[in-house]
């Protein structure tokens, strides 16, 4: 197979850029310059549901000369919208559980958007790296310890191959956050001593099981509710906020203790995930933070972050209070477009961008918290990384017709976390 090496492609684009006046090093490039000077970037979308569709639209809106040229999804009906909108020919639309393989085999796809349920992500990501594609990966990027290790390995490979990787943690591309974080890192609120993050919201959609649906189809269409597919809502959704706190600390928590359960969404249509988690993360220096997430209809919503330092407090999103008060007053572009713009700029020779490791680490923190809640054990990151044997990865040859019973909802005390012998984590307060 002739791989279009990311390196050579990037070099080519880089040379073009230099040739037209060195915009690549000038920070924000005037769009007209690279429109004229660069060839079309061809994007394949793997996972054409609502997130994949939005990501494709954001990608096209982010820069000129970007085309959606190939699609893959497990279901033909999910793929239809993008197919019609971007007039993708039949022979470049792939359907089924192995559709992604066919898409990645297309040598004229430069870059891919990975937006399937995250349980498949490590497999898709590693394959996309091997195929030499630049990658936009939705968050989260794994649902289990084995998947995290796969991702870390693939992230390393992607760096070696100089592939550009952006992740769907869009706050990292939102100037309100970016500018706030710069100031926090420059000491505007002093040393960080406390923090909180939340994703508390109501309920989400459910697709009723139709008689003709196989186990696999029913679970895929309701992927949010199955741990092997979504990682539970703390991983699938709250990873955004956990990622912000990791960003603020420029470090990962070294321990976690979480409590959670399923108090409201108890029916079988909600698979095997919880509906609430209350988590404490311990950052280096025993700095303890609150993470709270809930999906229960009718409850008080709050999606935000907050960090507290010795000299001030910040919402991480444009406001600093304390000794050096500050408010972001610059432009507020759509961060879902910005993440694609930065990715495309990097591919076209701008500053190198690879967020694979970072999004994997934040994903891991969320998984670790989930496992702490499922077992009620306080857990060290080191233990999780080195000893946890939890492996929820789908078989690469999974078939739509395979029987796939739903594993029971985790009940602390009964739940067995692979790799945990008794209580190897040690205690701390």
């Amino acid at each position: 197979m002739t791989r279009r090496g990311g390196v050579s492609r990037r070099r080519f684009l880089g040379r073009s850029a230099v040739a037209i006046g060195g915009w690549a090093t000038a920070g924000v490039a005037p769009r007209v310059a690279f429109t004229a000077a660069t060839e079309t970037l061809r994007v394949g979308v793997i996972g054409c549901g609502s997130r994949g569709t939005e990501a494709a639209d954001n990608c096209v809106a982010a820069a000129p000369g970007v085309q959606i040229t190939a699609l893959a999804d497990a279901f033909v009906d999910r793929l239809k919208g993008l197919k019609e909108k971007y007039k993708v020919p039949d022979q470049r639309c792939f359907v089924g559980l192995d559709a992604w393989r066919q898409l990645l085999a297309l040598s004229d796809v430069d870059m891919v958007i990975l937006a399937t349920p995250p349980g498949f992500r490590p497999m898709h990501f590693a394959a996309a790296v091997e195929a030499g594609k630049h990658i936009f990966t939705e968050k989260p990027v794994a649902v289990c310890a084995a998947g995290v290790r796969d991702m870390l390995e693939a992230a390393k490979r992607s760096e070696e191959k100089k592939l550009c990787v952006a992740a769907g943690t869009q706050r990292r591309h939102d100037p309100r956050y970016v500018e706030t974080m710069k100031r926090i890192h420059d000491g505007a609120i002093g040393d960080l001593v406390s923090a909180q993050c939340y994703w508390n919201q109501g309920g989400l959609w459910v697709k009723p099981r139709e008689p003709k649906m196989t186990d696999v189809e029913w679970q895929l269409r309701n992927w949010l509710y199955f741990v092997w597919l979504s990682g539970d809502h703390i991983v699938e959704q709250h990873v955004h906020n956990i990622d912000v706190i990791n960003w603020a600390f420029r470090a990962l928590p070294d321990q976690v203790h979480s409590l959670g359960g399923r108090q409201f969404r108890t029916g079988p249509e909600f698979g095997n995930i919880y509906d609430h988690f209350g988590t404490e993360f311990f950052y280096p220096g025993d700095v303890r933070t609150i993470s709270m997430c809930r999906q229960i209809q009718g409850t008080t919503g709050n999606v935000s972050e907050r960090v507290v330092g010795t000299k001030g407090v910040s919402d991480c999103a444009g406001t600093i209070a304390g000794e050096e008060p500050w408010k972001y007053e610059g432009p507020t572009p759509n961060p879902y477009v910005e993440e694609h713009r930065h990715w495309i700029e990097a591919i076209r020779g701008g500053p190198y961008l690879n967020e694979a490791r970072q999004v994997t680490e934040s994903t891991m923190c969320a998984i670790m918290a989930r496992e702490s809640a499922y077992s009620q054990q306080q857990m060290k990151r080191e233990w999780f990384m080195q000893r946890c044997e939890l492996d929820l990865r789908p078989r690469p040859d999974l078939k739509m017709t395979d029987p796939l019973p739903v594993t029971p909802v985790a009940v602390p005390g009964k739940y067995q976390l692979p790799g945990m012998v008794k209580e190897p984590q040690g205690r701390r307060g």
Partner: protein, 439 residues
């Protein structure tokens, strides 16, 4: 008003004697006896009465009351066998009170000081009766299980203030020398402005009591009180209040805002509940005997200065935790003995003597009575109880609300009026689903 009690409270002239170690006469006759009655003769009550006896040689136990009078008699017999205290146990049969009105009978007894250790649901009414009768009170924590109860308790506390009566609560950390010295320093700014904190009580499960003798459902619920929120307040209120009270101590008052999540993930007494159902002749209706409390609640308390603190509690098979931590702009503290700067360097460590807080709380109480300067911690323990109840309501409803709303507007009232405390059918509520109506 009981003249003798009034005598203790008002007899400031004898304070000097007390300070000199000479027990002042607390009765007109010149005796230094403190006549004590105990309400609630279960495990905590029998502990509290011993701590009280140990706290002061003038303490004489003269009355015992319990919903189940057998418990009171058993406790009297046990105390009479205790060589340390038997000479100070003077409880004739007619000073053993039973039944749901036993608290009223005890309030009328010839006593100075009442110790309260029943299930907390009844405490506000017990307290009001005691204060109206002019008794000093030691009350176990928590002091109520609902908002209405906290308000009634606060009313009784204000009445006690007017009448010069003492109220000391069983939050013993407030009486430990190390913590008192530490808190002085925190309040004096040793760790700067308070910007965060954590408190925990997560541990193993608790007893479940079956229908151990012939009794009605309502009586059985009172016997197995921990498992019903209207009786115990749930674990956050019944147990974790200790740690919540320490955070409130750090901030010198309750939080201004509450947010919480929680549920019942592992608590299961189906086997025992089925036996209870059998005993009541309702084998198919067993689920309600399983109780309605949760087994985990994680709350965020936002204090008036904006500091957001974690409260983490429950019962389950996971990692045990029970302590507190407070975070300031200049350092941190374990809320027990030590203050560190943010680099881990020691700023201060307590090196004085240690005391048993559960005994010291009685020492402090009786000393204040003898000195004629009765301590009144009533409002404070009501605020800490209400803080815990606030966490619980935030978790049960999934709603965020303020202290002002909770204290002044909430209609939360789970405990029936005392006229309804009688043998008969039980009072059962569904297990909250995390989106209960906020009222």
């Amino acid at each position: 008003m009981d003249r003798r009690t009034d005598g203790i409270a008002k007899n400031t002239g004898r304070a000097a004697l007390a300070a000199a170690g000479l027990a002042p006469g607390v009765r007109a006759a010149g005796s230094d006896e403190i006549r004590v009655g105990l309400l609630g003769c279960g495990g905590r009550g029998s502990g509290a009465v011993r701590h009280c006896l140990a706290a002061d040689p003038g303490v004489v136990v003269v009355a015992l009351a319990d919903l189940f009078p057998d418990k009171a008699r058993k406790l009297r017999d046990a105390l009479l066998k205790d060589p340390k205290y038997k000479n100070r146990i003077r409880v004739p049969d007619d000073a053993i009170f039973g039944g749901f009105d036993c608290y009223e009978q005890l309030a009328k007894s010839d006593t100075h000081l009442l110790l309260m250790a029943t299930a907390p649901a009844f405490r506000p009414w017990e307290m009001m009766a005691a204060i109206q009768a002019g008794k000093h009170v030691f009350t176990e924590k928590p002091i109520a299980t609902d908002v209405a109860g906290c308000r009634l308790f606060m009313e009784a506390s204000r009445l006690a203030e007017q009448k010069g009566l003492a109220i000391v609560a069983g939050t013993q950390r407030r009486h430990e020398f190390n913590r008192i010295e530490l808190m002085k320093r925190i309040h004096d700014g040793a760790i700067g402005e308070l910007v965060g904190g954590q408190c925990y009580w997560f541990g193993g499960g608790i007893w479940y009591r079956g229908r151990d003798w012939e009794m009605t459902e309502f009586e059985w619920q009172c016997h197995n009180w921990y498992h019903f929120t209207w009786l115990s307040g749930d674990q956050i209120c019944e147990q974790h209040i200790h740690n919540i009270d320490v955070l409130n101590w750090c901030f010198n008052g309750p939080p201004k805002k509450f947010t919480a999540v929680g549920g019942r993930a592992t608590r299961d007494y189906s086997e025992q509940a089925k036996k209870v159902a059998q005993a009541f002749g309702r084998p198919d209706d067993w689920a309600k005997y399983n109780g309605d409390i949760w087994d985990h609640i994680v709350s965020e308390f936002e204090y008036p200065n904006g500091a957001r603190c974690l409260s983490f509690c429950g019962h389950g098979p996971g990692t045990d935790r029970s302590n507190e931590k407070i975070v300031g702009t200049k350092g941190v503290s374990d809320c027990a003995r030590r203050i560190l700067d943010h680099k881990g360097g020691k700023i201060w460590e307590y090196e004085g003597p240690s005391v048993n807080g559960q005994e010291q709380e009685h020492v402090d109480l009786i000393r204040s009575i003898r000195a004629g300067k009765p301590i009144n911690h009533g409002i404070r323990i009501a605020e800490s109880t209400l803080t815990a109840i606030g966490g619980r309501i935030a978790a049960y409803t999934g709603r965020t609300f303020t202290w002002d709303w909770l204290l002044n507007a909430s209609k939360n009232a789970l405990v029936p009026d005392p006229s309804k405390w009688k043998p008969g059918p039980g009072l059962f509520f569904p297990i909250p689903n995390g989106a209960a109506p906020l009222e």
